[in-house]
Symmetry: C2
Subunit: 720 residues, 2 copies
């Protein structure tokens, strides 16, 4: 009953906000918009209420958020299918030199053998409600931009706290849909005992590695099986031996026959972030300043970290997850940069803005209201460009060393925990403080001093070399009059050799009472954290100010654009549940090249060199050569498809999302985009925007024939 | 009349040798085989006698050999179309920092502006004749293998000398068609005054550089125009201002409308070398030993040479041609290695040989005659594998330093010139000695000490580090008891600082009378050359021995294979005139990828980054954007095609070959193969063997619109 009310409220909002929805395939639609899409005409062969039903159980209840990505329940006993790379962190934490699950894979022979995926939670969207009015009521006319931001932050915390009181055992989160304009409260069930069931070896799950990442044609078996557990009474609980498998309200039916070129498909998932409503100056800032800097900076880190691990598998394992993350972003940025240039994106945006400005200027009233809007917005980005260098250094400095970061959190905690709960920064509120602590303690297990120092020393040296007027006092103090490189090196030597913060027990004790620890400790990172605190507090305040100005301007921009274009928009992705649809479809990435939308295991053999990342296990090679395909061969191709390509609109966070056929059956697990589609974050292109899933036939075939885990197929109701 | 006789003789030979010719597209057919191919049924729309007519003028007379590659006459005034990379050496030699034709291109505004392409000759095949019986008559039963080789070499020299006496002003050359079995005498007209007419800038002619080399899809404008000149009386002559354009017997008609997918095409050209008749052990030696070594060695050289030229365009220009050659081979080898593995070539050959051995063993008489044949052949390759390391070092040592090479040639000349002409090594015979000297003198212009030393020092050090029993005495002497690296470095310092051989005048004087120079000179390279002479003389003798044994065995292998397979073979390519035919055809290089057989100028823009090798001239970009295509736009694609792909059988040496349509009109200039077709040298694959030409429409469009040389179109009879 509650849910129905929420649904109507939200629907009302979006009817106003979206109006006539475009027929194109672009769009990560909020669930509330589905009824406007006439999906049956597009190819959907199921009733919309079986897809989403706020009054009952539907397919949507089988979708979950796994960390920052997506998964789906595929059995009544909480079995989850997601990506190998989504489970990666958990596998990495469970691995040791002795039990190298990352390298060799992991298979639980039965449920008792399922091991914890530490640090993993799974969320299920229960309901949502538009709270824009409530949020914006907190804003008063006389407020400064910073005050405005602060007031909104505060109001959101209140709404979330109220909701969590109301829905016991659930998590509440308010998400901004249109900047400075619309806010939606989401209620989630959060499961905290997640376990590994089957993870293929690296040479299947990450076949092609960084070389193939962001590429089509693809042959990566990027899938893993997890299982969610709950307390015996069905409530969400942390890991315990007594826990039992979770029974989702609904789970997806797997379609062992897969799809074909041209088939209608759709995705439900949690896309992270897109920036399609930002201005040309934002894009220019990204293209000219931020992305090239970050890509180069990460590339340097990758090389440095790989070097540290090159002779020691144990160290390599410790650094693997981090390197993978850095590489992924680095290559994504390079792809985006290429795409932006190729599509002349900044030029196009500028052109749109010129036209909008003409429209604004054509009417006196409009000009009065919106005349300087674009100029003001762009002005804010121009400032960012001017301060770019110090901005980058200062934004990376606090997170460069995990010990500095720990000390900063402890110091902040000593101040925040004294405040009333609702006044605190989010991570220190009672509802979150425990999770914050657990995360920090888990961090000690991943700490590796040489890499930590290396990256800290580098950024500190960059900070030391900033122009005098931008340099931090704390850094000036470290350097003194000497040679910056030498001084920084000595300082780093000193702080790492005398800090105790890498020690789990010491940290645990400090976390018991941060204020007491701050009072008594002489840890050198605490000293630095204390000195930096006011600086970064001031930066936060500045950001609030900037953000407040932007929120206001972007809200106005949306109004005038809506008026000008007499159409409406889909909100940018923001890690909330979205729907996208399209077709299984090839594309032409460049002159004279066409790529089919299905790859096959033949390509696995073709790419296999025997050397990482193309070192297909011998058993898999043999199965392919013997054509031991069971029921999973494609009837015309006579071989097992490995991956599928489609023109749906996805972004990061859609990793692990189920790809569903017209009847809502699982035919693939989304895991990547084609190189040309890295640009999706900024713009959609019907020619180039293609996303990639591992084909369900490959998933099932590997599970059955390679892993010998036919019992998982049985659990999913797939006949062999 | 003479020609007709020769033709009949040769035809008779091949009727025996070839029998029923395969219908597949594999095959670089000798001209004499054309009448067996039923080319009209395949798609040819012209009379065979217009293609090749030993009794009169035909299309074939319009084809020429340009250096080691191919070209075609496209006007009555000796205008030649060939590749940019074929003309590269000439352009490089004509370039200076001031006039950087390599970078900026070269256009002669009229004939008086056409400049010399130094070092270039052009050959036209006049006739040929089977001389196998004559050659093999020189072989006596009692001869050792080395004596056999020597006798054949000697006989060939006699036949060539006789022929040159008979056909005044012509060059004669005997080519081995089937190893140890068939020999053909070719009579050539050789033109020696070749000039540059139009060469596009590097950014068109070598667009994509090494990155795109051996790749499809391609967008390289790899073409150049040359012109052949002769003495006013029409005879062949070296460069002179008095010379006049050569009037070829025949020239090709250019087809400005080009071709389409599926069209019949053929090529006439001078493919260099293929190895399709070699055994599995040869392939194994190539795959496991020689090619990986050479690819790595060349890669090292490329890096070292690029490093030398990185800050100085003048030096970079000097080294450009060499780097280009090294890169080309290196990448070709890498492609072949991949192809060999992917096609399991060695395994396939072994399998064929197993079957052949079974056939041999099944009959007592056959076993007696051929039973040990394969074992003996393979045994010879196994020996090569055992001596591999020293073999490689010793084969690269004499050519590692151009000064050592010069000294060795002078020393050898001092011995050879004393002998009777017919007893001399070929380069020192009267008919060749002048050319040898000219080449050496030209070499001084290309000498660059730092690169010469670098490569010499490296190989000398490798020689010094060979196991003691394989080390040369001369090298042991250099090293003494000290540290090899240090000793070699000192030695190299010494020889380069005291040698005079890099000086053109000094060399010219020495070449006047090599014996006198050897008598009086104390050049340190002469000392080394003298010490090395007996060693390399012994190696030559060993090679003769090995080669003699192989010739004999391969001749027998051909006999028994012919018997076993009841079919016949096309001889391997050997730089003689060949014919191949096929269709304009795309291909699938790998799983889920299909490549069209036509690229367009759209791809030029797509690839353009503004940075070498993708730095398209602004003018060309503007022409493309303005769609200023003149008559050269493809009627359906609405844009200018840049390159075409086809399934003809080509190899190195086919560079610059005309691609001709069914009516024998020029539609493209062959310049490369797809990556997967680097394997052509060892095996033919209907799936992967694809070659690449620049599309005539792109050639003509660039000539007209970009270069503004419409007068060349007029000369070729192309209406604008």
């Amino acid at each position: 009953m509650k849910k129905r009310m929420l649904f109507f409220l939200l629907t009302a909002l979006f009817i106003v906000a979206i109006g006539p929805v475009s027929l194109a395939d672009e769009g990560m639609y909020p669930i509330s918009e589905l009824h406007k899409l006439n999906l049956k005409a597009k190819g959907l062969e199921m009733d919309l209420k079986d897809l989403y039903n706020p009054n009952g159980v539907s397919l949507m209840d089988g979708i979950c958020k796994v960390g920052g990505a997506t998964g789906s329940f595929v059995s009544a006993d909480g079995l989850i299918l997601t990506n190998h790379h989504v489970a990666y962190g958990g596998v990495s934490r469970a691995s040791s030199e002795e039990h190298d699950y990352l390298q060799n894979g992991f298979l639980a022979k039965d449920r008792s053998g399922e091991i914890q995926a530490r640090g993993y939670t799974v969320r299920i969207t229960e309901s949502y409600k538009d709270v824009s009015k409530q949020v914006l009521k907190a804003v008063k006319k006389e407020m400064s931009a910073a005050e405005r931001t602060k007031a909104i932050e505060q109001k959101i915390k209140e709404i979330e706290a109220d909701a969590e009181k109301k829905y016991e055992g659930k998590s509440a989160q308010v998400s901004e849909m249109f900047r400075g304009k619309t806010y939606v409260l989401f209620i989630y069930t959060t499961l905290r005992d997640i376990r590994l069931v089957y993870v293929p070896p690296r040479a299947i799950g990450n076949f092609g590695g960084e070389e193939d990442n962001w590429m089509w044609p693809r042959h990566t078996g990027d899938f893993s099986y997890l299982r969610a557990y709950v307390a015996p009474d069905g409530s969400s609980a942390g890991y315990s031996e007594d826990n039992v498998p979770y029974h989702p309200k609904s789970h997806l039916k797997v379609a062992p026959d897969g799809v074909n070129e041209g088939d209608f498909v759709f995705i439900l998932g949690y896309p992270g972030r897109t920036y399609r409503h930002q201005t040309s100056h934002y894009l220019e800032y990204e293209e000219t300043y931020r992305m090239p800097f970050v890509a180069d900076y990460y590339e340097w880190q990758i090389t440095a970290l790989e070097d540290l691990g090159k002779d020691d598998r144990g160290i390599a394992l410790k650094l693997a997850s981090r390197i993978k993350g850095l590489s992924n972003t680095m290559k994504n940025y390079r792809g985006k940069l290429q795409g932006m240039r190729r599509m002349h994106l900044v030029e196009k945006k500028r052109d749109e803005e010129r036209k909008l400005q003409q429209y604004i200027d054509a009417d006196n009233k409009r000009r009065e209201k919106y005349g300087s809007l674009l100029a003001e917005l762009n002005n804010l980005y121009t400032k960012s460009m001017a301060d770019f260098e110090s901005d980058m250094v200062l934004s990376y400095l606090p997170r460069s060393s995990s010990l500095l970061s720990t000390a900063s959190t402890l110091y902040t905690a000593s101040l925040e925990l004294k405040k009333d709960d609702m006044e605190r920064q989010s991570g220190f509120m009672e509802r979150n403080w425990n999770r914050t602590k657990q995360g920090m303690l888990r961090g000690t297990g991943e700490f590796y001093e040489p890499s930590d120092r290396l990256i800290f020393e580098d950024i500190l040296l960059r900070a030391a070399r900033l122009p005098a007027d931008q340099r931090l006092e704390a850094v000036t103090e470290i350097v003194g009059d000497g040679d910056p490189a030498e001084a920084v090196h000595l300082f780093v030597d000193h702080v790492y050799s005398s800090s105790k913060l890498a020690d789990r027990d010491a940290l645990e004790a400090a976390l018991e009472d941060p204020a007491a620890w701050v009072e008594s400790s002489d840890d050198p990172f605490l000293k630095l954290a204390r000195e930096l605190y006011p600086v970064f507090e001031a930066r936060r305040e500045e950001n609030r100010e900037r953000s407040g100005e932007m929120d206001k301007l972007y809200a106005e921009l949306l109004d005038v654009k809506r008026e000008f274009m007499a159409t409406d928009f889909i909100p940018d992705a923001n890690s909330t549940l979205r729907f996208t649809f399209g077709r299984i479809k090839g594309y032409s990435p460049r002159d004279a090249v066409y790529c089919d939308p299905l790859t096959t295991v033949n390509g696995v053999l073709e790419k296999t060199t025997g050397e990482e990342p193309f070192d297909t296990p011998q058993k898999l090679q043999d199965l392919i050569r013997k054509k031991d395909f069971g029921r999973f061969a494609h009837p015309e191709l006579k071989t097992v498809p490995t991956a599928i390509l489609y023109d749906m609109d996805t972004t990061g966070g859609n990793s692990g999302s189920p790809v569903l056929n017209a009847r809502g059956e699982l035919v693939g697990i989304n895991f990547d985009r084609a190189w040309e589609a890295t640009i999706n974050d900024y713009a959609w292109s019907p020619d180039y925007s293609r996303s990639i899933a591992v084909d369900i036939r490959y998933v099932l075939w590997v599970t059955q024939k390679f892993a010998g885990a036919g019992y998982l197929l049985t659990e999913m109701g797939v006949e062999e």
